[in-house]
């Protein structure tokens, strides 16, 4: 979530409304002014709260920077500290605007509890957000309405939490809900859905989803397809799918064979270029509970020449451990 960018847009839109009809050029000028110093233009409690969220996320990101070099103990202590700080910061935002749902969502996630435990508070939050934000008629794509984005983010967090707490049908259904509300799928719910459908071994639904998004292909989709075919025992097809994943996703093979820890999404999936190593790293992280359920999957992947050599080559080119 880019809170600052959303804040700028919200403030600019509010200003336009206050000023009356503006030409495109005039609005662009206004937008640039706001962008130059958004804090000066913040007026309403909702904007103030969102500003606090943006600051909290910046601060949190800053605190993470030095963690790469820490040992485990120092890392977990630093992590606990920045998470509880984030929780407090979001509490402050909520004190200004109790309907700042991004702050509320972050506050739940910052508690850093197991998925099975945060599902309940997330579902309650979703209900509150629906009755507060989505009372009137909804646009064709809810993502276009900035005020509805927090609701979409909450629903997306619910879908991911379902996946993480082994509720695959619910995860797929919730992801479908978000895609129905926001068909351009800016939050990438199709990826969560693909993983859930692979775990449920539901090939026809998986294919239908793929077709719906014009077979765009992503690290999630390639990896999920490989897992699906492997589970169905179609080993020739699974090998080809793995080969495709390893070839099309930069460093995908390496990400799968040498998984790394990925921190909690706050509040949503970080952005990553399509089919990049960063995307593959996120996909492998999200797929982890599903991969664990297929105990010999990674060993099998490692034994496939394409995948093994792709991973080895990627490690050599980037000076990564192998």
């Amino acid at each position: 979530m880019n809170a600052r960018a959303e804040l700028i847009e919200r403030v600019a839109l509010r200003r336009r409304e206050q000023l009356g009809p503006l030409s495109d050029g005039a609005y662009q000028e206004l937008f640039n002014d706001v962008k130059g110093d958004v804090e000066r233009f913040v007026e309403t409690p909702a904007e103030e709260a969102l500003l606090l969220v943006a600051r909290a996320l910046d601060r949190h990101e800053e605190a993470r920077k030095d963690e790469d070099l820490m040992d485990d103990e120092a890392f977990f202590s630093s992590r606990a500290k920045r998470m509880s700080r984030l929780g407090r910061d979001c509490g402050a935002a909520l004190a200004i605007d109790p309907t700042c749902f991004d702050a509320a969502l972050l506050a739940v996630l910052a508690k850093d509890q197991d998925p099975d435990w945060i599902l309940e508070p997330l579902l309650k939050l979703e209900q509150r957000a629906i009755s507060t934000l989505a009372a009137g008629p909804l646009p064709a794509d809810a993502w276009d309405d900035l005020t509805l984005r927090p609701l979409l983010r909450i629903k997306a967090a619910v879908a991911r939490t379902c996946l993480d707490s082994a509720r695959y049908r619910m995860a797929a259904e919730k992801a479908e809900e978000v895609m129905a509300l926001a068909p351009t799928d800016a939050l990438g719910m199709r990826h969560t859905c693909a993983l859930a459908l692979a775990r449920l071994e539901d090939e026809s639904a998986f294919d239908a989803l793929d077709v719906r998004f014009s077979r765009q292909g992503s690290a999630w989709e390639h990896l999920a397809r490989t897992i699906l075919l492997y589970k169905l025992g179609r080993m020739g097809a699974a090998r080809r799918a793995l080969g495709g994943y390893a070839r099309l996703c930069e460093g995908g093979a390496y990400a799968l064979l040498k998984p790394v820890m990925v921190d909690t999404y706050l509040p949503d999936r970080p952005e990553a270029p399509a089919l990049s190593f960063a995307e593959a790293t996120l996909a492998v992280h999200e797929a982890d509970p599903i991969v664990c359920d297929v105990p010999d999957f990674v060993a099998w992947a490692q034994n496939q020449r394409d995948c093994f050599f792709a991973a080895q080559d990627f490690a050599r080119r980037n000076n990564y451990d192998w």
Partner: protein, 361 residues
């Protein structure tokens, strides 16, 4: 039901003995048969038998060692049990190279991964099927009367066990649709489900979150002449998992209460969720509704309990189940659970949750 190797050995010998008396006068044959039990127990070698019966007897002995003694043995004892079992299985295969139970058990011990054992089972299945079906058809031709049915049924047992092993390994390997396919094969061959593959099928439907499939399985099981009705531990654990997955916690608690009514010490068993080695010959034969049966079912259900991210390392459903068991356990059971399981992580989580709720008020 389940397969009991010792009982099957007895049955095979009895049928062979009866077959050897087929040309006698009925009265004389009946008289002769009176001595069978004693001779089986004391002078086995004096009874008529082929190499197939001799081989199966060795399988039964190996089963006692591997499935019933090894899990409770010390490391030292295990060192003698394992080579003994291997010798028995090797001898069985020398006597009868088509003793597929022995072949399967010998390979199970030597496979480094679930997958390699599963691949072996898949590869060999058509051969086992062909052999067992041939043996069954031969029995139906050679033997007359009701005995023919019994002989024919027993001839299929190695294949049924093969399918049951395939289904249970498929489940462990995360191939739930494959597991259901093997269960279906077994149920078609043997509608009475001697191999209890419906237990594995129930878990696979829960894994696929296929409530409808589970309902259909249940109505199919209703017709079976066995003591469970539809209340076996596997079906109930599958329902429990589905209710948890659907977040229908009142229903989940109801099902848990039902399990606790039917199975002694259920709170303890389901708090432990202990994973035991699977029976190598077949699923361990335990009395219906015994504590041991629930232990076996809970072990197989770890494919459900252990799924999902969870800081206690038990899986999402597993941690919830532990928590629920604490609230239905008797004081004695609670003490035992506390002795065995470190609950500090759970209680600290609980406090967090309390804070969470207050925060939301």
């Amino acid at each position: 039901m389940a397969f009991d190797a010792k009982w099957e050995d007895y049955q095979r010998m009895a049928l062979r003995f009866a077959f050897s008396l087929k040309d006698m006068e009925p009265l004389a044959a009946a008289k002769e048969f009176v001595s069978f039990g004693r001779r089986y127990a004391q002078e086995r070698d004096s009874l008529p038998q082929t190499d197939a019966e001799r081989a199966f007897h060795l399988v039964a002995e190996a089963t006692t060692l591997v499935d019933y003694q090894l899990p409770f043995a010390t490391d030292e004892e295990a060192e003698t049990i394992i080579p003994r079992a291997h010798r028995l299985l090797d001898e069985a295969l020398t006597l009868d190279p088509r003793c597929y139970d022995a072949a399967r058990m010998a390979v199970a011990a030597n496979c480094p991964t679930f997958e390699s054992y599963y691949d072996y089972l898949c590869e060999m299945e058509p051969e086992v099927r062909a052999y067992c079906e041939e043996a069954r058809n031969a029995a139906l031709l050679d033997v007359s009367g009701e005995r023919a049915v019994e002989v024919a049924n027993i001839a299929l047992h190695p294949h049924l066990r093969w399918l049951a092993a395939l289904a249970s390994k498929a489940l462990i390997c995360g191939r739930n649709r494959e597991a259901l396919r093997f269960c279906k094969d077994a149920l078609e061959l043997d509608p009475a489900d001697t191999a209890d593959t419906r237990f594995t099928a129930a878990l696979a439907y829960a894994k696929l979150e296929d409530e409808q499939g589970l309902d259909q399985l249940e109505s199919r099981c209703r017709k079976l002449p066995h003591p469970y009705g539809t209340n076996d531990a596997w079906m109930l654990l599958s329902r429990l998992a589905l209710a948890h997955k659907r977040r229908n916690l009142p229903l989940a608690r109801q099902v848990l209460a039902r399990i606790a009514e039917l199975y002694p010490n259920a709170a303890l068993t389901l708090a432990r969720q202990k994973e035991l080695p699977d029976g190598v010959f077949a699923r361990l034969a335990m009395p219906p509704f015994s504590e041991d049966e629930l232990i076996v079912a809970a072990s197989e259900a770890t494919v459900l309990t252990q799924e999902g991210r969870d800081s206690l390392g038990r899986g999402a459903f597993g941690s919830w189940l532990l928590q629920e068991c604490l609230s239905i356990a008797t004081r004695e059971q609670l003490e035992e659970i506390r002795e065995e399981i470190d609950l500090t992580a759970l209680s600290s989580r609980r406090e967090d949750d309390q804070g969470n709720k207050e925060g939301w008020r």
